[in-house]
Amino acid sequence: MPGTPPRPSPVTEAPAEGSGRPERVFTGIGVSPGVAIGSIYRFATEQLIESRGPLASDAVPREVARFDQAVLTAEQDLLGIASIAREKLGEESASIFEAQALMVRDESLYDQVVACIQEDRVRAAEAVPVVLAVQRRRMEASPSLYLRERAGDLLDIQQRLLRHLNRRKLIGEIQPHTLIVAQSVTAADLMVLHRRKVLGCALDFGGATSHVAIIARSLGLPAVMGLGDLSAAVQGGETLILDGFEGTVIVHPTPETVQRYEHRQRRYRRLLEDQKRLIPLPPETLDGHTVHLRANLELEEELPLLHQYNAQGIGLYRTEIQFMMRGHLDPTEEQLYQTYRRVVEGAAPHEVTFRLLDLGGDKLMPMPHREANPFLGWRGVRILLDRPDLLALQLRALLRASAHGRLRILVPMVTQVAEVDRIRAVARLVRTELQEDGHPVAPQVPLGIMVEVPAVALMIDHFARAVDFLAIGTNDLTQYALAVDRGNDLVAGLFEDMHPAVLHLIVRTVDAGRRHAIPVSLCGQLASNPRATAVLVGLGLRELSAPPSYHPEIKRVIRSLNLPEAEALAQQVLVTEDTETMHEILDTWLDEHACGFRQIFEAQAPGPTSSPSA
């Protein structure tokens, strides 16, 4: 979320590539909010150089020298990036870049590439991919998940070497105030690009949960991913509009479109200014009821956002990334403990809710693993209970961190009370072991479950008796209740997380929490949607957890309602028979309550859609 939105570069009346070119809209996934307008910098890192026949023998020493230079520069780049990463992202990310530095100057890689140049008379830029492909295939065939994922490192260093060898413009030569268009960028690239003051980033690949997306959000750099063939469709220099809310980019916009988006940009800036006013204010309804606003986070580097947005602790700390980012499932207990401890201390005096590893089975199996129906398969707690080593490792780290601040443990994908009992039993065992080893552990560490399967919401009393708190996950709850896979384009339109059926499951959960006197929070995407806030408050929720940048708008809605009004609205929505009517009711309510976000988030439809991409 940008603190101050970037300044656009001047846009001429007629778009750069001549006014004859038609406007083209590409639709992807908005992963980092903001509107940026500028000219395209085509960042081509992946292109292999086409063969130009064998080298002349007198060109061989020069080609070897070019390779030497590329290795040296790439190594220096990586060490430089490692030191930036250490400052901004912590030791873990830095060590990855340091290892990549060792890889670029790897002696067997070097010897093989030089042998290729000398014996086969090929250019270094052709030799590098050939040599690395052999190693990559070996790693990709490995039974170890870690090594398979490390093959990506080899691709990274290949691209880095090629970038130098191909004498393409390096990141350092990128003009400030341009928009980056690329197939993909690495997290490291993104940090350097940000320092070059680029305005935004539009990528062919990737999605909202990728590491690059998370970094883009942390840096406040507007970004759209999953754009399909955008990078192939542009040359560079064209005018581009990037809308990180809608997930659209527009190439060759007409002057009218530019004007419309400049207007949107100005509104967004005003909105951000206005949000600053809301940040220090308490999240209270007009009649004095507090709705706690907590943060969803997954990187310790995001901790400063808690203070920036005045969040009341962390309602959902996702723990997968530390396992996935390292490229293997074996971070040590000490590393996890240190991270969790820093998170708990960073959130003090507020509480942090850590969700135990919530993986899909495919990420864990040593061999390529296919399930006919992965969403109904080996996920969440089912994996944890089958992998006691993983569960004990994470529980040890969490319980040790509990000595340093307020911490709760949240179990994902529970469908049976017995699963809770088993997790509790392991936690007890781990606690005893830790105490015997002399580690301090907090006397009480609340254990709760995600309510994300309809069966749990329907039998909620059984679960409420067995746990210390409940957290509603609306994304999965909606998917399972409505039998809609959001990732399936054919039915994605049926995904509606405000569907009355979903709301009824939420009500059951909230009511059970009240009966059993345990806290209930809602941490799915619905919590980030200011359209839903009034209804959620009306249904009885008093704890919402959302990415911090969404807090001001949610708070705006909270501060503009009276509880009886919200309750009346919720009752009205609960009995609507179709979602269209429901949204009409919501729109009317929101308009009457003058909630500013509609102006920026909803009032501006994108221009004519001629996008060929999905």
Binding site: A99, L102, S108, L109, M139, P143, S144, D330
Partner: protein, 89 residues
């Protein structure tokens, strides 16, 4: 020539960090250094090579050192393996 048999003791196996440690230590010595696992041999001064071993916890490796300081190199390397690279077991 000096040869040694070692086992990978740390839980995570020879992932990036241990691989980097091996290469850094090996590079301090002049002796050539090779690691063999199940008949597959790699240059122990190559991080990419070490990573392609796919050596997980419990894997048995043969280390070979050849050069003037081969004894010292062997001792340093065996120490590294015995300590499990300072990681959890």
């Amino acid at each position: 020539m000096v040869t040694r048999e070692v086992r990978v003791l740390n839980r995570a196996g020879l992932h990036t960090r241990p691989a980097a440690m091996i290469v850094r230590v090996a590079s301090k010595f002049d002796a050539e250094f090779f690691i063999e696992k199940d008949g597959y041999q790699i240059n122990g001064k190559s991080i990419i090579g070490v990573m392609t071993l796919a050596a997980e916890q419990g894997a048995a490796l043969q280390l070979t050192f050849e050069g003037t300081d081969e004894e010292a190199a062997a001792e340093a390397m065996v120490g590294l393996f015995d300590e499990g690279f300072g990681e959890a077991r």
